[in-house]
Symmetry: C2
Subunit: 505 residues, 2 copies
């Protein structure tokens, strides 16, 4: 441990001697540095020979077109992902934004070695019928716990004391949609029992039992890939081609200019245009006989290209939902868990009453969704499946929340996010022909390349220098580091990116 | 350990002294008896006071209408589920058929305490982009392993060397449906690239990009509760009411008379009627412009009431699918994993070539589906999500398969299943006004009560005597014990059921 600290100090002093414009980190905060590496270390191009051999093997079992390389998770630490060829990369994509506090965090290792936890891993219960004794307590100390930082940030979104766990993000959104449909129809029938005709027709997929209700979503949205979710996903054609869908309304998502504070007027106009379209669509679909039961939206469209909108936009959208009797569902699968500097992305809107449903997964390790009391399903088995989540994931989540509190990670994210965004602004000023539209909230940042080929080339070159990033939209690089991503990691990232851009023709 | 064996021997001798018609077990096989209890032991009615208090607590967070009682999983062993009030029940429902080798099996505990496995639990990867080094090997030694019993039963269904893991049963079926839609459209367009119109229209949920294709399912089927799956589920109205659906064809599932061997002619007629309807529906939906891309069916309809059909029915259905160019999808989520006495339910059909897609979950611990080579998605990211399964579940699955091999559990299931079914026949002969239609394959058994109230009353009384069973259909009791359910467990089950029936008015 001491020697590793020494190595880092040495590395930092050496970096002081490096040429002119480089970022230099003075401090390496203990909590992460105690167990992670100092810096990337590359041995081969990526994917290296071992990854290539494994790709061939896995290719006989599955389509491997999306596989980047194979990983050595045992050797990975904190913000550094190690591959099977011994390459150690600074990972700012973190398994599509799903590793909350870095690889092999000691606190999570401890969960595994605690003998009291063994049974939770070995006996996965059917939570909806036979929950374990500690299930209410575990929910209360994790998903329903009152603060991340003492008395400041709630985990449970404002106004929500009910939560349903699920296995993944898609399942969470599917069941959130179902919850909104059930709520909407119960309202329509005045909370009376369903008619015989409804009971009969639902068995054969027909109206009125299976009503022609719809969910309004936004162009560029991503809410998952199961058939219900996919009908609200509009980010890339490859996700949707050849899959039957529902005729549900799709509103334009504002196409804003960045930095947001420089284009307030233009952006407000664009947002007004989109909101008007939302209302038109709600009316049109009601007239079509397919009323909108719910509106679903991401606080920042992620897969669709890291598209932001203003708190004012969301606030007005919320009001439109209320006005037309539609539920308002905020999909925090990617934005939730602290990455924006607040625990939930929608906390940035500052509304008292922001949502009827908030869904989550990824960094929360378990999927699920919160909902207001009014949306409580009126009968058992309406929202149900065999597992309904996984208590072993709740164990890890409790510990993740402890680490977030103990290490003040929301502050870390805010600080690192500022440094990252500032660095991206500098880069796009230096390389205006290559980069533009730097944007972000917390460390949930992105920047556009001039085209997709350039974006892909930058990403491959950066990877070979030890920086692993993600892409989204048409030509965007997205940054999704873990919550333990410190300012000196930001500096490593910016230095590598700067080197790649300097070499770029 | 020795004292526990002694206790069992004592209990068995005592039981010899019990009144007339009782089943008496002579042997307690070591492999299970080494770690599990001897017999049920009841302290309170169920749910007991502690469960009731926890129900109240959880009720403030979730709808608890489906919760039976709260469990002490630490204290549960093998076939015995212990609740928070200290009641120990013989569990023949096993978390909706999802516990393969009983509670706290020592082999699974070992997986947890092996330090080499810690990283797999702590670092859940995005399998589709960054698989761990051992991922192909783990698939080959589990889902693709060549035998359960040496050189006899394959794990991978006949003709299938490709498998895609998923997180749960619904996700598995949703993605299996997508795989069939993609395959069908690729055939239709002659494997050419999609047109510009297809690419554009799919982004807004419209045809031809999102084509009007359908999946043919059967009345009484259960394939999951997400919106795609739910459109093929027709077991109970409460699952479907108020949820929008697709206009997809629904064929009648044969309503057979039991025991099957006594009604061969009548049942064959009924099956012929249903098959004729299947072909009619395929033609009708093609004419409607909603061609059937795939047929999905369970080897035994479970949730719908444990409805069986003959190998001949499935064989002819397979031929119809082939004739009309539809994929044939066997949903083994509940029947898979050994419970029918073969590893897959469809192995009982004896076809060379039974399916294009086989989906699984529950006892396999990970969800997923096998498919033929022809159904391989042609491009990356068409079948994709963040996690695509969970390698920690594959670790457990490998060990479950080892135990199945080592303890010859498929033979155990076959033997126990025969004893169980024989016992159910005897009971329905003794109580013909209460019970009828005993049926089963392996330990996947069921019996009908005269009505739902009687069924529910029998189940509650049995539970209070230490036997926990499941229900399905309108008035059916379903038996879904773990694979370690031995003949002496069968005898315990039958004795309790006999006591309940004897007391029944």
């Amino acid at each position: 441990m001491a020697s590793s600290l020494l190595t880092r100090q040495l590395a930092i002093s050496l970096r002081l001697a490096a040429p002119g414009s480089r970022y230099v980190s003075k401090t390496a905060t203990k909590s992460v540095s105690e167990f992670e590496y100092d810096a990337p270390s590359m041995k081969t191009a990526v994917p290296g020979p071992k990854s290539q051999e494994l790709l061939r093997q896995l290719g006989e079992i599955q389509n491997v077109g999306a596989v980047h390389f194979f990983c050595n998770y045992e050797e990975s630490r904190g913000n550094y992902l190690v591959d099977v060829d011994g390459n150690r990369m600074l990972d700012v994509y973190t398994q599509i934004s799903s590793i909350p506090i870095g690889y092999n965090h000691p606190a999570l290792m401890k969960v595994m070695t605690n003998p009291n936890n063994v049974s939770t891993f070995v006996n996965r219960p059917a939570l909806g019928i036979l929950p374990p004794e500690n299930f209410p307590d575990k929910l209360i100390e994790s998903l329903l716990s009152v603060s991340v930082k003492l008395e400041e940030t709630q985990i449970a979104p404002s106004g929500m004391r009910r939560v349903q766990t699920m296995a993944c993000g898609s399942c969470s959104n599917e069941n959130a949609f179902k919850t909104m449909f059930i709520w909407y129809r119960n309202k329509e029938r005045g909370y009376a029992n369903p008619s015989e005709q409804e009971v009969d027709t639902c068995m054969i997929n027909q109206s009125p039992g299976c009503p022609d209700l719809s969910i309004l979503s936004f162009m560029g949205a991503f809410h998952g890939r199961t058939l219900g979710c996919l009908a609200t996903t509009h980010s890339k054609a490859i996700h949707k081609l050849d899959i039957p869908s529902f005729d549900w309304p799709i509103a334009p998502f504002p196409k804003l200019q960045y930095p947001l504070e420089e284009f307030v007027r233009e952006n407000a106009q664009e947002e007004a245009r989109c909101l008007e379209e939302v209302e038109d669509l709600i009316v049109k679909w009601r007239q079509k006989g397919k009323p909108v039961a719910g509106i679903v939206i991401e606080p920042i469209q992620a897969e669709g290209g890291d598209n932001h909108a203003s708190p004012d936009f969301f606030s007005k959208l919320r009001n439109i939902a209320r006005k037309h009797g539609c539920a308002f569902h905020v999909d925090e699968v990617q934005t939730g868990g602290g990455t924006t500097g607040k625990f939930w992305g929608h906390e940035h809107w500052g509304l008292d009453d922001p949502a009827d449903v908030v869904s989550f997964s990824k960094k929360l390790l378990t999927g699920g969704y919160y909902h207001r009391d009014e949306l409580k399903p009126d009968k058992p088995y309406r929202i149900f499946n065999t597992w309904m989540g996984d208590p072993s994931k709740n164990l890890f989540l409790s510990e993740v929340l402890n680490v977030i509190r103990r290490e003040n990670l929301l502050e870390v994210v805010t600080r690192s996010g500022k440094a990252l965004l500032q660095g991206l602004y500098t880069l796009q000023t230096q390389y205006p022909h290559i980069l533009s539209r730097a944007r972000g909230q917390g460390t949930f940042c992105a920047i556009d390349a001039c085209n997709d080929a350039t974006r892909d080339s930058i990403m491959i070159k950066a990877r070979n220098k030890g920086l692993f990033m993600g892409s989204c939209g048409e030509k965007t690089i997205r940054f999704r580091p873990a919550l333990v991503f410190k300012e000196y990691h930001v500096h490593q990232l910016l230095n590598i990116l700067n080197d790649v851009l300097a070499e770029h023709k």
